[in-house]
Symmetry: C2
Subunit: 342 residues, 2 copies
């Protein structure tokens, strides 16, 4: 099916475009009254993730309500460890929790991986197919996965953490098991993303949310090679890599064969385009907290961001939008980008 709005894809391919495309990480979620209404009727977050027509419904809500240039499939990065054999629960106001975590090489060896576990993820592919059909070509659909290091962290910690010292300890104490686990996550992620593309994703994003907690030498050893393997395996659609906090690895990230790099709000675009000479299209990076400011400030900051990037740019926040962000601010952000022209 032809897309009626392919601005995101043209931008990702490096074409000259009339204005930057815009979408928001976590746009399908609590910022929308429609989402909160639907969510209130359900038993929990996972019911939403695992029920294709509901996941499709919330995926499309921000396209209707905000007029963004892309939909991103409503799902969770933790479906991957679950498919591999570690189930998780989503604890209200606390976040994910794994009753069983990885503690040894034999724990790693027991996990399933790769195409073998795709059957466990059929609900995600179904959600993509339903979304694709219901979107009816209005905008591209983005699929996503966590980067192996981030997934690894959850599998070792069992939840979020202030220091991630359990996951980081494992890298030092058990590097062989760590690499085996990262390999298995990577193989699963590649099979998963390929199947997402087959199910209709026009683009994929790899989120390395916990990139910023590794020292540079470990990020080079335990993160970059696995991201590279994923990037090199996805051939048919553009890939966005977003390594949050990995400013120290920008040089290596800029050499990846992905079309787009995500930029967090700590990073100055002038540094990326300047001394680091990053060539990829960049995505980001308005501070999500800026959306708590006045309409005038949001507009001004958005325009400043657009001018700073000045092209080869997908407008977004520098992180997922926070759940209590005023909807009007989000609309001001989106509309400011949409009225901009190069």
């Amino acid at each position: 099916m032809n897309l009626q709005n392919d601005l995101l894809l043209r931008t990702a391919r490096g074409e000259k475009v009339e204005r930057p495309p815009v979408w928001l990480m976590r746009q399908a979620g609590r910022i929308l009254p429609q989402y909160r209404a639907l969510r209130g009727k359900l038993s929990g977050f996972k019911e939403l993730v695992e029920t294709p027509h509901l996941a499709a419904e919330v995926t499309i809500q921000p396209v209707d309500e905000l007029g963004v240039d892309a939909a991103i499939i409503f799902s969770d990065i933790l479906v991957i460890p679950e498919a591999m054999g570690l189930t998780y629960e989503m604890v209200e106001k606390k976040g994910p929790w794994f009753p069983k975590t990885i503690e040894s090489l034999s724990d790693v060896e027991k996990l399933g991986s790769g195409e073998n576990v795709l059957g466990e993820l059929q609900y995600v592919f179904d959600a993509l197919s339903v979304t694709k059909k219901e979107l009816n070509g209005r905008v591209p659909l983005i699929g996503f996965a966590g980067a192996p290091w981030t997934i690894f962290s959850y599998m070792l910690e069992g939840s979020g953490s202030k220091t991630f010292s359990k996951a980081r300890k494992f890298l030092y104490q058990n590097p062989t098991a760590a690499h085996l686990l990262l390999d298995k996550i990577t193989d699963t992620t590649i099979a998963y993303l390929k199947q997402k593309v087959r199910s209709g994703a026009n683009m994929v994003q790899v989120f390395d949310s916990w990139a910023g907690i590794l020292p540079p030498y470990q990020y080079s050893e335990f993160a970059i090679p696995y991201i590279k393997k994923i990037v090199d395996s996805i051939e048919d659609v553009p890939v966005i890599v977003f390594s949050k906090g990995a400013w120290f690895a920008m040089d290596e990230l800029s050499k990846l064969d992905c079309q787009v790099l995500g930029v967090d709000w700590n990073t100055k675009v002038s540094d990326l385009r300047g001394k680091l000479n990053v060539q990829q299209v960049l995505q980001g990076n308005l501070d999500p907290c800026m959306l708590y400011s006045s309409e005038e400030n949001v507009r001004e900051a958005t325009l400043k961001m657009l001018n700073d990037f000045g092209g080869k740019h997908i407008a977004n926040l520098g992180h997922g939008v926070y759940p209590d962000t005023p909807l009007d601010s989000v609309k001001t952000f989106v509309n400011t980008v949409k009225s901009y022209s190069y």
Copy 2:
């Protein structure tokens, strides 16, 4: 009283020294069996902080047990908001919690500040005096405070946070009140650190633990000027500024009139001494998780760090030592530095 070991002070003053001095952030704490034994007998963390002879005892424990080149007074950065009028509780395994937080300008206006509130902190100054006497000149004593932005964050959030979006929202929505609060924290911190120096501190460290969550333009507006005011007010002893995660502000930090800059484990010393041309003495930056590794790896990584810094260096971790770090590893770290020579 003359110090028997003034290596830390000579290094901080930029003198040529025989080897780097070594201490660890959080060296007085759960890594030591002596600490755990004493702590087990007490009602809680705050009893230890608020009882001068006990605070002195745990301050000196790592000097005895590890042979480090400095003692750092056992205390907490949150004694400052408490003295200003916001009491906190230390919840076991969860961290600090403030029953009442700052929500408005009038909340800020009600807070005490500066020399007026020093009376509330007498127990800290007493702890320094007792420590000083009991240390008997063996090593220098370091005093510390949180940087204003970090203290501000706790006063707004009421606890740690994944996103600090409440504190960050306040900067955008209420910049006037934010600056007033930062001013009051700064005035209090200056009075506090000066009194610590009068009570025997030979050096002070300012910890900006949450530096890394601000965008660069906000760090320049809401953090750097207040740190600068503190640094410029402390005249008699060397000052260490440790802005964790503020790699994007290194250029501004390098222009501060402080003797030492702390370096986290994400940062490559070659970047600091190279393109950023940082002139201050640097403190850091072994990954605290490296201490979970084998003795051989710890020794090797410590030596690599010492070689990378190559002088004008205070050996330390890139963050506080984690409570479950094996004591033998800590000793290997300390002893490797102590057997090193330039």
